[in-house]
């Protein structure tokens, strides 16, 4: 039999969301060697499918004081150490006619009890500053909410971790654990493109797979109790307000409107789901959000929406697991020792705002187990800016492009004005790390395809550019475009009415009507060009100069 290749490391991190990447950075900063395996891509799960709201904590003051206070302190820390990922927009809590008077009355005192400042604002003044607010508003409080870019946060955490020796393996899913007594000897993973399995031998294994933590724990034979809650959000065509606007009531549906750079993000919903695969937003959820959110911000009823997305919140604590060791009600850290494992830890639950703290807690556990005494310094060490990581921020690329565009820097994406130089930077960085980037990878790391046209024009332009660079060969571009639209389409479908429906029709007219992408193989047959033996991707004589 064939012995699979083995990789050695001190710590294996499973899951490349905000927690996993923060953990990789934390460990790397403490001088610990680690490998991060991610079955898809950075922030592919809930980490990339949320508002991008840096909570002041006020949202939880009534229901969950501990979480509220965590949010407050963590929010302050991140504003210090990861300033580049944050827009300090400030936020309003707004109640409209018909909302619970009682909750409104107690709100301020609840906040002060959690040490959160909420300043009552005169409604007229508030509407002067945020004209989009409903005239049916009956109470407005100002809090220290801010917007944070989770992609930039994770990408830059991972970038620093890598610079300190950590290794990232994208599109590498865990397939099994090799246990020996109370220890996991190795974790078996499947590399990209489904090649032969690899073994990763690590002294410690951390399960930071977010919603997938249950499956991973299951594979390790240490089941944990978790439930899933699906949340859907909508992205508007233009930015509606300058501040975060929260509904002043007990957390419910569609009560946060988040200004994200040049757009606004509205949501969320919350529905129990049991399966994790094929979680996508539905028309019904979109309708629910529009109707509910329009009560705070009436313009949302007539707004053009460009897409929707859905994420799954991992909720810890099902009936049987009243877990005493949970560090907080916000998130859960399992050491699995009672389940007979001494080198596995699972960290899940929690929220974007507290990801650094979650990483710190699990890193402390891992260090204790490894006998490493170095303290956590992520609360005080600024997160370094990485050139390839800033492009997810809406509205940044236009400025960058206008500042630096030379005669050879064309825009590949017009809606979000993403220049070719940005795409090259991102692409080269991924290549430098031994990756073979896809169009979707570029989309995740930039605004390509995120604008009004949802890729109609920018996808072909970007692919043409990648062919020109010599990065794409043969029919790969077609496949990439098809995948890219597949991914984009799930997000567009629920919001296809009004102007965005016209936009989608244009997209279909171009990509089906003209390019006939749905017939890409049939047309070949039809034109008498059946599949020929694939010629080796020829080295290109043309335009040797990097274009």
């Amino acid at each position: 039999m064939k012995f699979p290749i083995s990789i050695q490391t001190q710590v294996l991190i499973i899951g490349g969301g905000v927690t996993g990447t923060a953990l990789a950075r934390d460990l790397a900063l403490r001088g610990i060697d680690c490998v991060l395996v991610e079955k898809e891509d950075i922030n592919a799960g809930a980490s990339g499918r949320n508002h991008g709201l840096l909570h002041s904590g006020a949202r939880y003051v009534a229901g969950d004081r501990a979480a509220a206070m965590e949010c407050r302190s963590e929010g302050e820390i991140l504003k210090r150490v990861a300033a580049q990922t944050i827009q300090d927009t400030g936020g309003y809590f707004v109640a409209v006619q018909g909302d619970d008077e009682r909750y409104i009355a107690d709100f301020a005192s609840h906040c002060s009890r959690s040490g959160i400042t909420a300043r009552a604002v005169d409604i007229g003044a508030a509407r002067a500053l945020e004209p989009a607010l409903s005239e049916r508003a009956i109470a407005v409080f100002e809090v220290a909410d801010a917007s944070i870019d989770p992609f930039r946060l994770s990408l830059e955490s991972m970038a620093q971790a890598r610079s300190l020796g950590a290794r990232l393996m994208r599109r590498t899913g865990v397939v099994g654990f090799e246990r020996e007594g109370r220890l996991i000897r190795a974790v078996r993973v499947r590399p990209p493109g489904g090649g032969d399995e690899l073994r990763i031998e690590a002294a410690q294994v951390v399960n930071a797979a977010g919603a997938w933590a249950r499956e991973v724990a299951q594979l390790a034979g240490t089941p944990i109790a978790m439930t899933y809650s699906k949340g859907t959000l909508l992205v508007t065509h233009t930015r509606l307000a300058s501040r975060v606007v929260n509904r002043l009531r007990l957390p419910g549906n569609a009560d946060i409107m988040m200004p994200g750079g040049t757009v606004s993000i509205v949501g969320t919903t919350s529905t129990r789901v049991d399966a994790l695969d094929d979680v996508h937003p539905t028309a019904a959820e979109a309708d629910l959000i529009v109707e509910e959110a329009a009560r705070m911000l009436p313009a949302l009823a007539t707004m053009r929406y460009i897409r929707a997305y859905a994420g799954v919140r991992p909720l810890v604590g099902a009936p049987d697991a009243a877990d005493g060791r949970a560090v907080s009600r916000g998130f859960a850290l399992f050491d699995h020792e009672d389940q007979g494992l001494d080198n596995l830890a699972t960290i899940t639950g929690g929220k974007l705002t507290t990801c650094r703290l979650m990483a710190e807690r699990v890193a402390d556990l891992v260090c204790r187990r490894l006998g490493v005494s170095r303290p956590c310094i992520t609360a005080t060490t600024p997160l370094p800016v990485a050139p390839e990581c800033g492009w997810t921020e809406p509205g940044r690329s236009p400025r960058e492009w206008m500042r630096s565009h030379g005669p050879h820097d064309a825009l590949l994406c017009e809606c979000e004005m993403v220049p070719r130089s940005a795409v090259d930077t991102i692409y080269n960085a991924l290549r430098a790390a031994g990756d073979t980037p896809t169009l979707t990878d570029l989309g995740l790391r930039s605004r390509v395809g995120k604008g009004a046209c949802q890729g109609t024009f920018c996808a072909p332009r970007t692919v043409a550019h990648l062919y020109q660079r010599g990065d794409f060969q043969a029919r790969r571009g077609l496949a990439e475009i098809v995948d890219f639209f597949g991914e984009r389409w799930r997000g567009q479908r629920p919001v296809l009415w009004g102007e965005q429906l016209a936009q989608a029709e244009l997209m279909e007219a171009l990509h089906c009507g003209l390019f006939g992408e749905e017939l890409r193989d049939e047309e070949l047959q039809h034109a008498g060009m059946p599949d020929a033996p694939r010629a080796a991707p020829e080295p290109d004589p043309a335009d040797g100069k990097p274009s």
Binding site: E414, F457, E499, Q503
Partner: protein
């Protein structure tokens, strides 16, 4: 008044006047207006002018010049054509003053020589003097009335020096009439004359003459009883006939000063004891001399400059003239403007000036600003706003040429405005399209952010940019690039070394992204040919070109408020 004093003050004021004239006239060859005039030297300009004058003198054009002098310079034909009332007032003043000057001020050298037996106190000279004075007064009244009537909301140029000069003028006239009025009624004057001509000043002895003068000449004797017996009067008439009649006609013909004297009769005693005759004389004469000396330094120098301009036009061989000549004509224009304001009324952008509240658009104001620009005054610190507004005004001119057509002084104002625009541009105050494009769009955006942080902007979107502020204006955009494809300006990017910085479609996208400030300073917005191809072709009905106009207007205000004097251009 001692002749010595009179002489010395007269010569002093004459000297001052001469110097002033010299200084002002030399300015026509010194002052540079217009970039093209920069390198035309003083001597070349002098040479050109005298050369031109000479060539005119020794050609048939001399007739044209003479005609112009009579019709335009003397009888103000051009003014008559456009403003009858003002023409009349102007003529009254000029004629009245000239006649007073000849017949009264220069009596010793003119009247005395030309008119045998001339005596200022004889009929009809009393009458005429009053008449001429009255003409001047009437003229001034007419002009003031006309000026008040023509305002039509247009602000007018006002300068202290001019006001002072008008007051001086009034002083001369009023003092003159008062003096005359007082002398008619003054017993002191009577006694002085009696002494002089009948050798006695004894009231008893002069009783009859006094009676006669009191009755016939209105001398206001304080001590004369109510009843004057007619015998005394008759005796007085006889004595008058041989002693006084040769020099004195009845003053009743002085239709202004005689009634004045009646009015003063009550206070004559006081005035006499106060020697009013002396100080009124001083006032009258000194005011005249002061006026004479100051004349060249006031706008009334146009009395010299305007005719020169008109004659120069007549002397000119053809309408278009060499830079050398125009250089001097521009400087001359600054002096020759009579501030009649006809240009302002005719100005085709006058309504714009009213609505924008910027008189800098109006010719009369532009002329002043041009002068101050030439002297550099307007560019000194503290005047930044004047300078900016003046420049704004200068560049909104449409070169319609109406001001030139109507100018009574025959000034080529159009040429002056074009020259002035050149100077404004050279001083770093070019047309908006230039000063905006002197900085890259991003630089403007950043300086606006700073300004916005300090103080908001005073230009509500609803007023300046309703379309670009309303997301519905471009929320229909489907990114099809049609606007860019049909844009001739972007197309021209193909054969110029640097293309436009943004395309129309990128501008629309920046608006959609809420980054409007990034567009205001962009070359695309300011190089837009406004040909409306984009808007006409847009399949989604986005009003691209209308929005471009809006962005320019918004830029003029927002960038204008953060722009420094002298943008690098």
């Amino acid at each position: 008044m001692s002749p010595a004093f009179f002489q010395s003050t007269l010569y002093a004021s004459l000297a001052l006047c001469a110097l002033g004239l010299l200084w002002r006239v030399s300015a026509w060859f010194r002052v540079h207006i217009g970039p093209d005039a920069r390198d035309v030297t003083f001597s070349r300009r002098v040479a050109a002018v005298f050369g031109g004058a000479a060539s005119a003198l020794f050609s048939l054009r001399v007739l044209r010049v003479l005609g112009t002098f009579v019709l335009d310079a003397l009888f103000l034909r051009r003014l008559f054509a456009n403003a009858k009332l003002r023409w009349l007032g102007h003529l009254l003043i000029v004629a009245g003053f000239t006649l007073l000057l000849l017949m009264h001020a220069l009596a010793a050298v003119v009247s005395a020589k030309l008119l045998p037996g001339y005596q200022p106190t004889l009929y009809p000279y009393l009458l005429l003097r009053n008449l001429f004075g009255a003409m001047v007064l009437a003229g001034v009244a007419l002009l003031l009335f006309g000026r008040w009537r023509q305002r039509r909301g247009l602000p007018q140029v006002r300068r202290p020096m001019d006001a002072a000069f008008v007051t001086l003028l009034a002083t001369v006239l009023v003092a003159g009439f008062l003096l005359e009025g007082h002398k008619i009624a003054s017993p002191r004057a009577f006694y002085r004359m009696a002494e002089q001509f009948s050798g006695t000043s004894d009231p008893a002895e002069l009783k009859p003459l006094r009676a006669f003068w009191a009755r016939e000449f209105g001398v206001a004797f304080g001590d004369l009883g109510e009843s004057i017996d007619s015998n005394a009067v008759e005796e007085g008439r006889a004595r008058h006939a041989d002693a006084c009649a040769s020099c004195h006609s009845k003053p009743a013909s002085a239709f202004i000063s005689y009634p004045l004297s009646r009015a003063l009769a009550q206070v004559t005693g006081i005035l006499d004891s106060g020697r009013a005759d002396i100080w009124l004389l001083y006032l009258h004469v000194l005011a005249c001399f002061l006026g004479l000396g100051l004349l060249p330094f006031t706008r009334f120098f146009h009395a010299v400059a305007a005719p020169v301009s008109l004659l120069a036009n007549a002397a000119a061989r053809n309408r278009t003239q060499s830079v050398t000549v125009r250089a001097s004509r521009r400087a001359l224009a600054l002096d020759a403007c009579v501030r009649c304001g006809i240009c302002d009324q005719q100005c085709s952008v006058a309504p714009l000036a009213r609505y924008l509240g910027n008189p800098g658009l109006l010719p009369s104001h532009k002329l002043i600003a041009t002068g101050e620009l030439a002297s550099g005054r307007i560019l000194q610190s503290g005047h930044e706003n004047d300078a900016l507004r003046a420049a704004d005004g200068a560049f909104l001119c449409t070169d319609c040429g109406r001001c030139t057509n109507y100018c009574p002084a025959g000034l080529d104002l159009e040429d002056l405005w074009i020259a002035a625009r050149g100077d404004f541009a050279a001083e770093g105050l070019p047309a908006p399209a230039q000063w905006v494009q002197a900085r890259p769009a991003l630089a403007w955006a950043e300086s606006m952010e700073v300004a916005l942080a300090q103080h908001g902007f005073s230009d509500p979107d609803a007023l300046f940019a309703p379309l670009s502020a309303d997301r519905r204006s471009f929320s229909r955009c489907v990114q099809c690039q049609t606007c860019t494809n049909v844009c001739p300006v972007v197309a021209q990017g193909m054969d110029t070394e640097h293309g436009v910085d943004l395309t129309p479609q990128k501008v629309m996208n920046l608006l959609r992204l809420g980054l409007r400030d990034l567009t205001l300073g962009s070359r695309m917005v300011w190089d837009c040919a406004t040909c409306y191809q984009c808007q006409e072709h847009c399949p989604e009905g986005v009003r691209v070109a209308d929005i471009m106009y809006e962005l320019r207007a918004l830029a003029v205000h927002r960038l204008g408020s953060v722009r420094g004097l002298r943008e690098p251009s």
